[in-house]
Amino acid sequence: MAKTRPRVARRVQTLRPSGIRRFFELVERMPEAISLGIGEPDFITPWRVREAGIYSLERGHTHYTPNRGIGPLLQEIAQYLDRRFGVSYDPDTELVVTVGGSEAIDVALRTVLEPNDGVLIPQPCFVSYVPCAVLAGGRALQVSTSVEHDFQVQVDDLAEAYDEGTRALLISYPSNPTGAVMPRAGMEALVEFAADRDMLIISDEIYAELTYDGAHCSAAATPVGRQRTILVGGFSKAWAMTGWRLGFAAGPADIIEAMVKVHSYAVMCSPTTAQEAAIEALRGCDEEIDQMRREYNQRRRVMLNRLNEMGLSCFEPKGAFYAFPSVSATGLTSEQFAERLLEEEKVAVVPGTAFGPSGEGFVRCSYATSMPLIEEAMLRMAGFVSRVGG
């Protein structure tokens, strides 16, 4: 009999299961818990967008679209990027509509990495970056960030992790899980660092619209940055469209053309209904976005205030919808804190370690939940902290 071979590739076997998964199962068994562990908006997609999706279905638009996306949406995205972030792209050659920002990250890495190429990934970071880099055949070079620098990655630390085989830098500001943003000066330093080493930048700017203090600075917003950046954006966060699975990548034509090739073999095209609805999202939702942003900002202030009051020191998160307080004053690890808080107070937060080793000592609290629930969760958390000794 032939010797049985492992049925799952070693590359996949070695991927660590998401740190979120285990916690998800704990929380799932406790439906009455207040969850601050949710990485998606509590708002529902604005009605005008849902209505556009319904209309698209009514007209029977249920077929494939061109690989890179439908023309009117590509044009709207190009105009939007120009209007909001001052970066201009040719909709015919420099944009591709993807299945969420997630697919854009995956496709970007698979498009640009040679086997064993290094990818610098500041962490704590979104859970998919390291696995996607590994699955694309690359090496994930994780770079720690710290609260001393408001979780903004430092060029010195990048330089230390860099080696000759490093091909790309994968950044995300505003950041999930920390809520950190990268102001223009810092962004320019990162771009310069990459340019000096002829590296590409994959910049996940999915939370760009959710910036509360000063304007968002895109990695592509400088001439040097633009020619080496794959800018990733999407509709999930600001338009509350997570379930539609729609994002995009913008970049130099040679890279985007190659990405369209990978994208077309992987998924053919992005969902037609979602694409048609997204046109309405870009054309008619500025007011709704403003309203959501204003509300997130109010919750952000309340959460930040309460966390600091209860003795969990928290740097000011200026973007996304997360606060990332330190729990070190309690003497508990991130996991212990999250588990005990769930058990004893029925409040779910995510241990910082789910997002990388330098998340130890922190927990992620999402304020994408209603104000009354946030206030109640903060009360319970304060009780817990004072009990364990903050």
Binding site: P31, G37, R299, A348, V350
Partner: protein, 159 residues
């Protein structure tokens, strides 16, 4: 200021401290701002949104279209003043189009409204015709959805 008004329009019971925390100003500043808005009559008063049906209290809503032949030299205002004095009148609007005034009636039962129209409104000088529409069900009132709908669910923990 706009943000404070928006907050209070959603929840009139917010304290100065809550307004301050949410908008990032001091409590004293919030208190002063609200006091000024009240003094300037930007905030006219604080009310409660009540679901009368749920309370089991009969509370009829009606819309009455009123056509009139306005008084020479005084126009619609004189007629409006007579109509709005009735306590049954919840709101009163001068309209363009097929009729002149829209009278919104709130409270009491159908008989009360019928009596009001027949005995008070229709006989008014200058009123030449009325058409009364009763509300059968209130779905959304002043921005508040009044019917129960299942909440969309999210996964309890997501990256």
């Amino acid at each position: 200021m706009e943000e404070i008004l928006q907050l209070l329009s959603e929840d009139a019971r917010l304290t100065d401290a809550q307004i301050a925390e949410r908008t990032g100003i001091s409590e004293a500043e919030a208190k002063d701002a609200v006091a000024k808005l009240e003094k300037d009559k930007v905030i006219r008063r604080y009310k409660t949104v009540i679901d009368w049906e749920r309370a089991g209290i009969e509370h009829v809503f009606g819309f009455i279209e009123v056509r009139c032949a306005p008084e020479r030299g005084v126009g619609f205002d004189a007629v409006a003043e007579r109509i709005m004095e009735f306590p049954e009148v919840h709101s009163l609007y001068l309209m363009s189009g097929a009729y002149d005034f829209l009278v919104v009636i709130q409270g009491g039962n159908m008989r009360d409204v019928a009596y009001f129209v027949a005995e008070k409104l229709a006989p008014l000088d200058h009123v030449v015709g009325t058409a009364t529409h009763f509300v059968l069900r209130r779905y959304k009132v002043d921005g508040d959805v009044m019917v129960e709908r299942a909440q969309a669910k999210r996964l309890p923990v997501t990256p």
